[in-house]
Symmetry: C2
C-alpha cells in the first residue's frame, strides 16, 4: 500500500470510533463474570456474535463441554492466496468487586473526556472493539471486502484460567489453521511506547479449604478445645512461602528456565516503569529492594505465589466472639517456562500432607502452562515495524509478561506466531475498580491492527494457508 | 415461706409465661447488634425500659459517654429492712450472620414446640424475660408489691466487651449498692442439672490490619514485586500461636494463676460434657487430645487466642487474580485470673514489632478482666439450695466458665457476690445461627430466680443495705 492508501485506512479507523463506542457500551452492559455461576455468559457471547455478524463474519456459539460457549467466527472470502489471521479474544470479565470503590456503575459505559470507564472496557471488550474497528476500516477501503481471511476465537473463560479452551483448540486444530495469531491485548507503556509481547507466564489457581467443626462455636467455649479453621489455614499457608518470598513447595524451582542473556538484554532495553509502578501503588521499595535490571527480571522470570483472598468467621464491623468452622484462601501461582500447573497441584498436596495439613482441602480452579514466541520471528518484527509507524516511537519488545493467558495451545499446539496490537495502558486498572480505556489508545490500537493486517497482504504472507 | 406459699409462687411464674413470650417477641424484633454502628440500640433500650416500667420500676436510659445507653431501673419500695438485689443483663445481641444458615428470620420470634428461636432469645433477652417473670410472680403473691428492693442494670455493649460499663459502674457505685448480684445468664447442662457459675474469664479483642499498596493489584503484575497484605497478615498471625496452641506473646503466661486443688475438685464433680461437645461439634478429639479432668481444666483455666475472622482480597466464587492491598483479622484472647487486657495489648504490639511486623496496625476493640466469686459464699450456697429444690437435681458449682463478661467491676468494684439463675442450655446456639431457648427452661429459670429472691427475704439478708 502506498502512503495515501495507508492514510485512508487511518481515517477510516477514526471514522469507525462512534460506532465502536456504541457497541462497547452494549458489550460492557452484560456482566459476563465467568467466576460467578449465575452470570449471563450466553448473553455475553450472543452480543459479541451479533457484532461479528454485522461485519459479514459467519459466527456461531460453540459448546465447550461445561463452560460458557466459545464464539467462533470466520470470513474466508479473501481466498486461499490471501493471508489468514486468527484473532483471539474473550468476552468474559473479572468480577467488579469491591463495588464500593467504583465511581460509577461498573456495567454502564461512562465516557469522561478521553476515558471510557466500565468493567471489561479494556480487558477484553475494548480489544474486541479494536479489532472490529480494523475490520470496518479495511472493508471501507476495500469495497466492503476484507483483504485477509479472518478466523476469530472469543472465549468466555479467560478470567478463570480458560478451563475448557486448550481441549477445544486441540479438537478443532483443523479449522484454526492460520498464518499468525493476534493476541487479546497489547498497547502502550507509561511513556506511550507501543509494547510487543512475546510470552506469557502460566498459572495454577487453587482454593484451600479448612473445615474443623460442624458450625461456628462460641470462642469462650471452644477456644481451648476445638480446632479453629482460621488457625489451621493460617498455619498451613505460612508453610507455603517464606517472608523472603521463596516458595517452599518441594521442587518448585526445578523446571524454571532462567532468563537468557538475550532475555536480559531485551529487558534492559525496555523503558523504566519502576518509578511509575512505585508511585501508582504507593511503594518506596519493591519486595527484596529489587531495582533496575533485577526488578525487571524478578517481575516476570520468577515464579510467584499470591494469596488472592482470605475468608473466615465473622467479617463484619466490630467484635464477634466466634470460633470459625470454615476458612478459605484463594491462591494463585504464576508459572515461568517450563513449569506446569499439574505438577504444582501435586506438589501442593504433597507439601501440605508432609507438614501435617492433610485436613486442608485443595480445590484446583484451573491452570495454564506458560508460553513464548521467538522475539525475532518475522511477523513479530512486522508487528513492531507497523507499531513504530503508527505510534512514532520505538516499540518495546517484551520477552515475557507477568500475566497469564491460554497462549500455550496457540504456540505449542497450533504452532502459530502470536503478536500483540492493542489499546491498553498501565493506568487501565484491569481487574480493579474503575477499569478504563483511553479512546485515543483505542484508535491507535485499531490503526496498528489495520496496518499490520494490510502489511500481511503486502508481504504476500500465507498464500497457501487456510 | 411455707410450702403452700412456694407452690403459689411457682404457679404464678407459670401464669406469667404467655405475657413473657409476647414481650420476648417485642425485644427480639429489635436488631440491637452492638457491633454494628447503625444498629437501633436506643430502640432496644426503650423496649426494655418500657417492660420494666410496666412492673412499676422507675427506669431511665443513662448515657455512657459514647456507647449505647445503660438502662438503669429500681424499685426500692420494699424498704431498708428488705434485701436489695442487683440484676445485671444486656439488651444488645451478637450479629445474626451468617444469615443463610438461619431456618427463619433471626429478628422474628418463632415458637416451635418447646423452643423459641431468634437472635438474642437466650443471650440475653430471654434472661430479661426470666427476671420479669420472677417479678410478676412475686408481685402477684404479695399484693402487687415486691418483697425485695430491685436495682437493675441492663447494658447495651455486652457483646462488644462492655466498653463503657466498668467506668459507669465506678462512677455510680453509690446507687448500685446491693446485697447480691444476679448475673445475666445461667441454666442447665446437657443432663438438666442446674449450673451455678462462680467466675468468668476475661477477654481482649483486637483487629489486625495489614495495608501494603494503594489499591488491589493484578497478581500477574505485582506478584513478584508488591507486598501482599494477605501474606503479611498470615505471616504475622503465624508468629502469635504455635500449632501446639501455645500463645507466643512474651510473658503471656506470667500472671496466670493455675487452678487450685479445690478448683480441680469442683471441676471433677461436674457432669461430663465431653461426649456432648464432641458429638455437637463433630469432633473425635479435643485439641491436644485432652480428656477427662485435663479437658475440663483446659476448657477454662488456659488462656486462649482465637482468630474470630479473616478477610482479604477477593472472597466471591471462582478465581480472581488479585493481589490484595488490605487484610484484616479479628482476634480474641480469653484471659484467666490474673491476666489483664491492657497488658496483652502492650505485649501484642511489642511482639509484632519484634518479629518485623511494625506495619501491622492493631485496633483494640475492647477488653475485660477476669473475675471470680468464692464458691463457698453463703449466697452462692443459697442459689444452689434453691436450684436443687426447683430442678430436683444436684446443682453443679462451676469455679470458672470459658466465656467472658464484665464481672470484674461487680466483684472487685462493688464487692458483690454474683450468683446465677437462668434459662440457658448447651444447645441454645448462642452467638450462632438458630439461637434458641426452651420455654420449659424459661419457666424453671424464673422459678429459681423467684425462689432465690424469696429465700433472701426469709433469711433476712441485707436488713441494712440500701
Amino acid at each position: 500500500m502506498d502512503t495515501a492508501e495507508l492514510l485512508g485506512l487511518d481515517r477510516s479507523v477514526e471514522d469507525a470510533l462512534p460506532r465502536a463506542i456504541e457497541e462497547l457500551a452494549q458489550m460492557v452492559a452484560v456482566a459476563s463474570v465467568a467466576a460467578k455461576p449465575d452470570a449471563p455468559m450466553r448473553e455475553g457471547a450472543e452480543v459479541v456474535a451479533t457484532l461479528l455478524r454485522a461485519r459479514g463474519l459467519e459466527a456461531r456459539l460453540v459448546p465447550t463441554g461445561g463452560g460458557p460457549p466459545v464464539v467462533f467466527a470466520e470470513d474466508r472470502s479473501a481466498g486461499v492466496d490471501a493471508p489468514t489471521v486468527l484473532f483471539y479474544n474473550h468476552y468474559d470479565v473479572q468480577p467488579a468487586e469491591p463495588l464500593e470503590l467504583w465511581e460509577s456503575d461498573p456495567w454502564t459505559l461512562r465516557i469522561e473526556g478521553d476515558h471510557a470507564i466500565a468493567r471489561g472496557v479494556s480487558d477484553d471488550k475494548g480489544h474486541i472493539s479494536c479489532r472490529l474497528m480494523a475490520l470496518d476500516a479495511l472493508q471501507e477501503q476495500n469495497d466492503g471486502k476484507l483483504p485477509v481471511n479472518v478466523k476469530w476465537v472469543i472465549e468466555g473463560e479467560e478470567e478463570v484460567a480458560s478451563i475448557h479452551l486448550p481441549a477445544w483448540i486441540e479438537a478443532n486444530a483443523n479449522i484454526l489453521a492460520a498464518d499468525v495469531c493476534l493476541w487479546e491485548f497489547g498497547g502502550v507503556d507509561d511513556a506511550g511506547r507501543p509494547e510487543i509481547l512475546c510470552g506469557l507466564r502460566g498459572i495454577a489457581y487453587f482454593e484451600l479449604h479448612a473445615r474443623t467443626i460442624t458450625y461456628d462455636a462460641h470462642s469462650g467455649v471452644g477456644g481451648s478445645l476445638f480446632p479453629n479453621a482460621a488457625w489451621r489455614l493460617v498455619w498451613a499457608l505460612s508453610t507455603l512461602k517464606g517472608e523472603d518470598e521463596r516458595i517452599l513447595l518441594p521442587g518448585h524451582y526445578d523446571a524454571v528456565r532462567p532468563a537468557t542473556d538475550e532475555d536480559l538484554a531485551l529487558l534492559a532495553a525496555l523503558p523504566d516503569t519502576e518509578s511509575y509502578l512505585k508511585r501508582e501503588f504507593g511503594l518506596s521499595d519493591f519486595l527484596g529492594g529489587a531495582t533496575g535490571a533485577e526488578y525487571q527480571r524478578r517481575a516476570v522470570f520468577e515464579p510467584t505465589c499470591t494469596i488472592c483472598g482470605l475468608s473466615s468467621g465473622y467479617e463484619g464491623a466490630g467484635a464477634k466472639t466466634v470460633l470459625p468452622a470454615n476458612a478459605v484462601a484463594k491462591l494463585d501461582f504464576r508459572l515461568v517456562p517450563d513449569q506446569d500447573p499439574e505438577t504444582v497441584h501435586r506438589s501442593l498436596r504433597a507439601h501440605l500432607d508432609a507438614h501435617g495439613f492433610s485436613d486442608i482441602e485443595i480445590r484446583y480452579l484451573g491452570g495454564q502452562r506458560p508460553g513464548r514466541v521467538d522475539p525475532h520471528h518475522p511477523l513479530v518484527t512486522l508487528a513492531a515495524d507497523t507499531a513504530r509507524a503508527i505510534y512514532g516511537k520505538e516499540p518495546s519488545l517484551i520477552p515475557l509478561v507477568g500475566g497469564s493467558g491460554p497462549i500455550f495451545p496457540f504456540v505449542a499446539g497450533l504452532r502459530l506466531p502470536v503478536v500483540t496490537c492493542g489499546c491498553g495502558y498501565p493506568g487501565a486498572r484491569v481487574h480493579a475498580p474503575n477499569e478504563n480505556l483511553r479512546l485515543s489508545d483505542l484508535v491507535l490500537g485499531a490503526k496498528h491492527t489495520t496496518r499490520f493486517l494490510a502489511a500481511l497482504v503486502d508481504r504476500g504472507v500465507g498464500s497457501s494457508a487456510g
